[in-house]
């Protein structure tokens, strides 16, 4: 079991070495300066059999508290960009087919029609959800999509000033800030008032900008006024980049129809496991006019030598392997399998299912909102409309409430903290509900919270 997945027998290795005129495997590394070569072995935990590794994983897993009805499971009211939506067996089964899982990037289109067609269907569905013409074949996650969306806007406008609502997911804003150190974007944060962006200051002092960025709904769950955002973009000459929740399009007007130039988002709610935060799926859609600045992979239709319909990655001249330092993005490996999964999930949902999931989530959120807000000392942060998530001010720190509720079997939500320092949202509890939350679960949660904050 020297290398458990290497097929070669000792005899075969010896014969192959013989063919090469070598006497030992070490000689294969003769071109490596001797002084550099590792004397001992790597300092790693010992090799284990499959069964032993599985045993260890079971041990480790017992120290996790997953969402759902399994050992140690918690009823999940946490969201903040990652949601406990229904994923049916059919989606899991199809998305785990090994042809999807173990293929490489579809560079040889003739033997990659499966992945290519699935991506073509994915692009179509995401473009529809965004209300724009073009969607790409995926980016790493919502945060990465935001960065790429801003990059596109800046490149298109030639203006590095980025007006970003404080309602955008604070972790995504953090990623944008990190990468702006390289790209040199000048990110200006627009504050919130009562949970939604306060456009007044920016509108009052309009300067030129490359991008206006807003969440829809925003991180605190509130539905933002995209007309105001569009207005600001128009006044500043910026592209409007909307960080949109794909589930919202089941009920709300699409960001594109409300004026978005670029729609970015986190695709996790489209059939992807919570997975401790990844792999998720960066959604990216834009107008056809911007397609040559699109980051990442794009699948297009064509014909084969017999004139038969075929799919292929296209407009490759944007990409790093061809354009190198002038590429629209450095992305290469993306999240194709997640995009395929989302396409399958959206096919499972269909027109009515997407609406159902949005509506049912909104109902559960309303029921939870009203049940929790009825508790003495608990106040909603914002009076504005929300979809499936809302923030509450508690008489205790959100972290304390979360800790206490874990003991009762609930993941109560997410504490609003980083990115909101000094604002009225700081220390609030962000609560999400999906179509999977039942009345019984919410009633139990409310009762436990009432006890926990007394």
């Amino acid at each position: 079991m020297t290398a458990p997945f290497v097929p070669h027998t000792d005899a075969e290795v010896a014969a192959m070495l013989g063919d090469l005129g070598l006497e030992s495997l070490d000689e294969l590394f003769a071109t490596i300066p001797a002084a550099l070569r590792l004397a001992g072995g790597l300092d790693l935990p010992p090799q284990q059999s499959e069964a032993d590794v599985v045993d260890r994983l079971v041990d480790l897993g017992e120290h996790n508290r997953p969402a759902g009805r399994c050992a140690g499971g918690l009823v999940c009211f946490a969201g903040a960009g990652a949601y406990d939506h229904e994923v049916p067996a059919a989606v899991r089964s199809l998305a785990s087919r090994s042809e999807f899982v173990t293929a490489y990037t579809p560079y040889q289109a003739e033997v990659a029609q499966g992945v290519l067609q699935a991506l073509f269907e994915y692009q179509t569905m995401i473009a529809r959800l965004a209300g724009l013409e073009i969607a790409n074949g995926s980016l790493y996650d919502g945060a990465a999509s935001l960065v790429e969306g801003v990059n596109l806007a800046v490149a298109a406008t030639g203006d590095r000033r980025v007006l970003c609502s404080a309602g955008v997911n604070p972790r995504w804003r953090a990623v944008l800030a990190t990468f702006s150190k390289g790209s040199g974007h000048d990110v200006v944060t627009l504050p919130l008032r009562d949970g939604v962006t306060d456009w007044s200051a920016a509108v009052a002092r309009p300067a030129s900008a490359g991008a206006v960025v807003v969440g829809f709904p925003n991180y605190l769950g509130c539905i933002e006024d995209l007309a105001a955002a569009r207005d600001l973009a128009d006044r500043t000459g910026a592209r409007l980049v909307v960080c949109a929740d794909p589930i919202a399009s089941g009920l709300l007007r699409t960001p594109g129809s409300l004026g978005a130039d670029v729609v970015v988002g986190e695709g996790q709610p489209l059939g992807i496991a919570l997975g401790y935060g990844g792999p998720y799926l960066g959604l990216f859609a834009c107008r056809a006019a911007d397609v040559r600045r699109l980051p990442g992979r794009l699948v297009g239709e064509t014909v084969d030598a017999d004139g038969k319909l075929a799919y292929v990655t296209t407009l490759r001249a944007r990409e790093q392997d061809i354009r190198r330092e002038k590429a629209s993005s450095n992305v290469c490996t993306n999240q194709t399998l997640m995009a395929v999964t989302a396409a399958i999930q959206l096919g499972w949902l269909g027109t009515s299912g997407l609406r159902e999931i949005a509506l049912r989530s909104a109902r559960a959120a309303r029921y939870a909102h009203d049940s929790l807000a009825a508790i003495d000392g608990v106040e909603p942060l914002s009076p504005h409309p929300y979809l499936r998530e809302f923030a509450l001010r508690l008489p205790v720190d959100a972290e304390v409430a979360i800790e206490r509720l874990v003991d009762e079997g609930y993941l109560a939500g997410v504490a609003v903290r980083d990115g909101f320092a000094g604002t009225d949202a700081e220390g609030c509890l962000l609560v999400a509900a999906t179509e999977r939350r039942t009345r019984g679960e919410i009633d139990g949660f409310a009762a436990s919270l009432e006890k926990a904050i007394r």
């Binding site: 097929p7 063919d19 590394f29 071109t31 550099l36 072995g41 790597l42 284990q48 499959e50 590794v53 480790l60 017992e62 996790n64 759902g68 089964s93 999807f100 560079y107 040889q108 033997v111 990659a112 073509f120 473009a127 529809r128 013409e133 073009i134 790493y140 945060a143 390289g182 539905i223 709300l252 699409t254 919570l274 997975g275 935060g277 990844g278 998720y280 297009g300 084969d304 030598a305 292929v312 790093q320 450095n330 490996t333 999240q335 399998l337 399958i344 499972w348 949902l349 269909g350 027109t351 009515s352 997407l354 049912r360 309303r366 409309p385 800790e403 993941l411 997410v414 039942t438 019984g440």
Partner: protein, 520 residues
Amino acid sequence: MSSQTDPASNGQPGPRPISAVAGGRASSAPVVGRDTEPTLFELSVPGRHAASFRTTQIPEWAAEELVPAQYLAETPVDLPDVSERDLVAHFTRLTHRQYSVDLGAYPLGSCTMKYNPKVCDEAASAAAFANVHPAAPPACTQGWLEVLVELEESLCAITGMSAATLQPAAGAAGELTGLLLMRAYHESRGEDRTRVIIPDSAHGTNPASVTLGGYEVTTVGTNDRGGVDLDSLRAALGPDVAGIMLTNPNTLGLFEEDIVEIATAVHEVGALLYYDGANLNAILGVVRPGDMGFDIVHLNLHKTFATPHGGGGPGAGPVAVSARLADFLPGPRPARLDDGRFAWAQPAASIGRIHGWHGNALVLLRAWTYIRLHGAEGLRGVAETAVLNANWLKEKLRGTFDLPYDRPVMHECVVSAESLDKATGLRALDVAKRLLELGFHSPTVYFPLIVHEALMIEPTETESPQTLAALADALLLVAREATEEGAAGEARQAPRTTPVRRVDEARAARRLVATYDQRS
């Protein structure tokens, strides 16, 4: 069935009218034929559906009662409406139009398409890991944190570095992270450097990342042994150079023999060495980037550590650094506390987040599993066999394909069809396409850019000697056919047995149809 006689699309009316089948397409399975699979949109019939939901007993408020009317869509977004049966059939049939590692050899150079152990799939789908919410407090995620800490420790041991971040979602994200670390390091020393050096054989993500990192690219050439040209490197170096990005073995599959000299020269001007770890498979347990003098290393877990490539992703591109860079790492980082518990911690001078959560966690779990299954000995065996395979294959091709840099290779070999092209008109692309119908995925073609008609072949350690021999035979067969028939023969016509024949790439770009709605 052939496309001309497709009864699904142009059915001959029977004695009774087919009134019922307006809309929608038939869903049956030319698994055996070469028929086109309709899109999900063509299969759609409004009113059909597959979804169902949990019974919740929550009041059934109307949308208008929940959200002000001005926000509500007038018409719902149109998605394909299909039965679960058609959904399953459609995507199952798509998988029958798709090559994959599980179907056979995939010798794509630079991609390390090795076999992905099945136990890793089960690890990544276990509820105890897969269903954990990323914002759950550390008390609820001790198992996950322990995995992440152990993985960081293992990756540091493997690379010879001090600390690591697991956040980058792929190699390119790791590169950009590394460049931002470089920038933070120099800035912390009050230095404003502007250039990053890259060899001309580098992967395209390297220069693209340099630009995004806010640096200018300076390209250095390759010497006749396939390594970095030391003289031009020395000429390019200066106090304005922030660093150099190298992959070693490089994209020619060759070990950079002068690495010590390079490292010394780069460090002398105060610049840093960045290691592009896409080719780490070749040197696991043999030599460590840290020992070669590198300061920053990214790893492609989806290559070296056998997390499957998913048709284009997800991957994971952790970055490991030497001690002097540790404080700049992205955060939060998983940390082992003195009491044996685990927590999140923020590095002192962190460049900040580079992922929306903690990285591609389930991919990281797969890599952790893979490393556990191997241990030190197993990983060294991986490298030895990968290198053995590549060299043996190269020797089999000698005399038929050109060997532009004829030296012992590491995990892959770059051969060229240049002479064959001159003699017979057979181009690298033709070789690739003919291989497809011979039952193999093709090697990477036309990369690295510095080799004409390049075929970059990486067999990986999980292919048997028998498979290597068959692959070599297939390659030799293609060359022989061309010699006998000229390139207009078999290869130029290829592939013929694939789900579609050679695709017209130019047309796709010329008449862009990137969604079903753009179909005319």
